[in-house]
Subunit: 484 residues, 2 copies
């Protein structure tokens, strides 16, 4: 086997990168659980019938075939055929969750709050910047028959709290309400609402002129109607009353008014007011948010990272009324989904953060000679029993070499078991400080116990001018994603 190359679209991290990802996921899980969201994990596959039901992404499904079908003559004939019952990898966590709710409704308590953190797959052609495998972290609240509007307010606040706990800088949650868009479009006389939304959804990508053409060509809009849609899409702001006034003014100008528009604006105002009270400056309205998926019926959400708006939305979702429905019951819900891999990829790729070390080990216990390895193992065992991650040096090399072994892994402490009768000593290899210590009582500072995420400060102009500044070198000599 020669040295393998990475597969385009299937990102993997070195251990230090994986530790960063784990810390992010641990943090998200904690926030979700503090808010009472229960964990769910669904299988990776769904029948094609369910995967192909809805939405734009369904064409990017990976279909599964058993290897044995390729050698079994009877099965071979059918290899070029598709069948509803065949299995495909899920492309999001919403479709599987809707199926899970239907399948288990009798055993769940509603309103049901769940979070779900799993890989999803998109069978796209390989191309730069597109992931074919990535991790999503979803939260949804689902009701039995009905779900009050207030959950459309609660959910983005939970998510804002979850995202704010991550070392990713400031996030802005952008919201719109489908009722506002649809009410306005219908008031204009437009009927192909989904086509209009799909057009508006492309606004940021293709610009206003091309969007206008698209609305005329694909959504049956007159140039005047299309222009009105674009004008609506340009409105934004955190002050609900001011925004509503602008919308009403626009509606008046174009003669576009409807009860649905009024209902949507009331909801949007309520959301913005509650958001401003709970977490000022995080949530604002942006009426160009359309979300391509046709199952949304109320509030829709996107999230941008301040300073990284070009990355697009890192967390999106919305209110849906009939995604999960069997013959007799519907389960309306509201959900939000974080694109974790995209986030981690940005953090590691741009060297914004790193793990304080690429291994859990806090203490490396040195080995004086192979005969005393058992003594070193005893120390490590005593430390672990007290919750301190510890490992024993692999060889009884010179202590300088053992310290280097720790240093290469950024393990902060090296422990030297005392010879017969002598006390043990532990050295902080960053500062060089060495003190006597007892494995039954010594404890590292809390910050050193487990690897953490640390922010890497970008070199400032001052650093390049004033060479006397003693910048923390260790923060720069490591390529991230490159554990080290």
């Amino acid at each position: 086997m020669s040295r393998p190359a990475p597969l385009s679209g299937f990102p993997e991290w070195l251990p230090g990168g994986r530790i960063v990802e784990q810390r992010l996921l641990d943090s998200l899980r904690r926030t979700f659980e503090l808010h009472g969201f229960a964990p769910v994990e669904t299988r990776a596959v769904e029948p094609l019938a369910d995967l192909l039901r809805k939405g734009e992404t369904s064409k990017e499904v990976y279909v599964l075939r058993r290897l044995q079908e390729y050698s079994d003559p009877a099965a071979q004939e059918k290899l070029a055929e598709l069948d509803d019952k065949m299995l495909g990898l899920h492309f999001d966590l919403t479709v599987p969750f809707a199926r899970y709710v239907l399948e288990n409704a009798g055993h769940l308590e509603f309103p049901f709050k769940r979070y779900q953190i799993q890989k999803v797959w998109r069978g796209e052609r390989p191309q730069a910047g597109r992931f074919r495998e990535f991790t999503q972290a979803d939260v949804d609240i689902v009701g039995d028959g009905s779900l009050p509007f207030r959950y459309e307010v609660e959910l983005p606040l939970v998510m804002a709290e979850a995202l704010s706990a991550l070392p990713i800088g400031r996030v802005r949650l952008l919201v719109n309400n489908r009722k506002v868009s649809e009410g306005f479009y219908r008031g204009l006389g437009l009927e192909r609402i989904e086509d209009v939304l799909r057009g508006i959804d492309k606004l940021d990508k293709i610009g206003p002129a091309a969007t206008l053409d698209l609305l005329v060509e694909t959504a049956g809009a007159t140039p005047l109607q299309a222009r009105a849609c674009l004008e609506l899409a340009q409105l934004h702001g955190a002050d609900g009353d001011a925004l509503a006034a602008e919308v009403w003014q626009l509606a008046g100008k174009h003669g576009s008014s409807s009860n649905l528009l009024e209902e949507g604006l009331e909801e949007l105002k309520a959301l913005l007011a509650a958001a401003a009270a709970a977490q000022p400056g995080v949530i604002e309205a942006d009426l160009k948010i359309a979300r391509g998926l046709d199952y949304y019926t109320g509030t829709v959400y996107e999230t941008v990272l301040a300073g990284h708006e070009a990355l697009g939305s890192i967390c999106s979702g919305g209110r849906y009324d009939s995604l999960a429905a069997d013959g007799s019951r519907t389960y309306p819900g509201v959900g939000l989904s974080i694109g974790v891999t995209r986030l981690v990829s940005l953090l590691l790729g741009d060297n914004l953060v790193r793990a304080t070390r690429p291994t859990p080990t806090a203490v490396l216990v040195a080995v004086a000679d192979e005969a005393s390895r058992g003594r070193s193992a005893d120390v490590a065992r005593a430390l672990r029993r007290r919750g301190i991650p510890a490992d024993v040096a692999p060889t009884a090399a010179k202590f300088g070499k053992q310290i280097k072994f720790a240093d290469r892994r950024r393990i902060p402490y090296v422990w030297f078991p005392g010879a017969e009768g002598a006390e043990d000593e532990v050295k902080d290899i960053r500062s060089g400080d060495q003190v006597t210590a007892d494995a039954a009582t010594w404890h590292p500072p809390f910050d050193d116990l487990w690897p953490r995420i640390e922010t890497i400060e970008p070199p400032t102009l001052a650093d390049s001018i004033d060479t006397t500044i003693d910048a923390p070198k260790a923060a720069f000599d490591v390529t991230f994603g490159d554990a080290d």
Copy 2:
């Protein structure tokens, strides 16, 4: 959409079951990290060339096709063909890890200790009791060029510690050494070692008579040689010296001796001695352990659950020398893999354990009327800020109904915000105790803070006779895997 049915071979759990699984995985992760194992996650797919290289499982691969290939005429023609570069889902975590080591060797520090917890897939025909998707938890230690034998001792001790921390009763790690088997077989004059091992691996399943036939038919053994192999396979015990004596006696009887046999027995003795010193009663030798995979070269491991031996091995692995090798370097290693899904399936399916509740929520804050919902939300926020999982009641129903809402989810505490000027109160709905409380200072007992795994005691004979015994009813009125 009608109510969907489960897919055979793709197990899913209700939230309470998932909480049990999460707690097991959290516990494993903690033990592995305390021992300095770094986390790695690999992509779900590998090129078929790598998946089909080795081992018995490779024929059970799921091959991936992009949905678009079925509608694109050019791609369609090739749907019945296989190609080395096509992608398949990994069927274990060893093959991907070997590839990961080769790909990233320049960025890793050796000996490299990693753990990896992920789903794997086997494209088998659907059949009862066989999983087609399941979670494995792997630990491996890999060296650059060489790896001392002592890691073959360290790894099962780490695993014994990890398994002992789970609420699964007593585990027994059974070990053998390939050098013992191969040395003995070669001493007998047998050469098709892999075929002999594959035959012996089937012993438990097909019995001694059929195994004897198999060895004669597939491994080129005479009946006498085959019988000798079976005699070796029957030896077992925790006392290395006694076992070695039995093996030498057998080797003498059959004239089967070799340096390899001697080397293997020395290693086995060393392992048993170290194991007895560190964790007496957990590790013993069982010379019928063969492991079907041909890449093992030293110690091999299986693990059974006391009282559930019929379940087969829940944790297996071994020493390998050349699994990961490019042209110039080899990375020998030793690894162990837990079949987590099989374990969880047993625990839930047999009602051996359950989560103390199927939601993280420890406190449900009641709502007196919709006007005061904000006051209840403030209490929940104050509790969460102090690390206490809290949720707000969905409706301002009568308090009795709100308590029932909590009870159905086994949420232990219901909080009643005081009316204007009055103090808040919190009720333990299990005992009925209600006390005044302040959200800024009150804390539940540690055991109630997060859902835990609790063991479900089987009803004893006494329970069915003495009806005056006040058995904890809650432990029996719940079907597990059935969150509640």
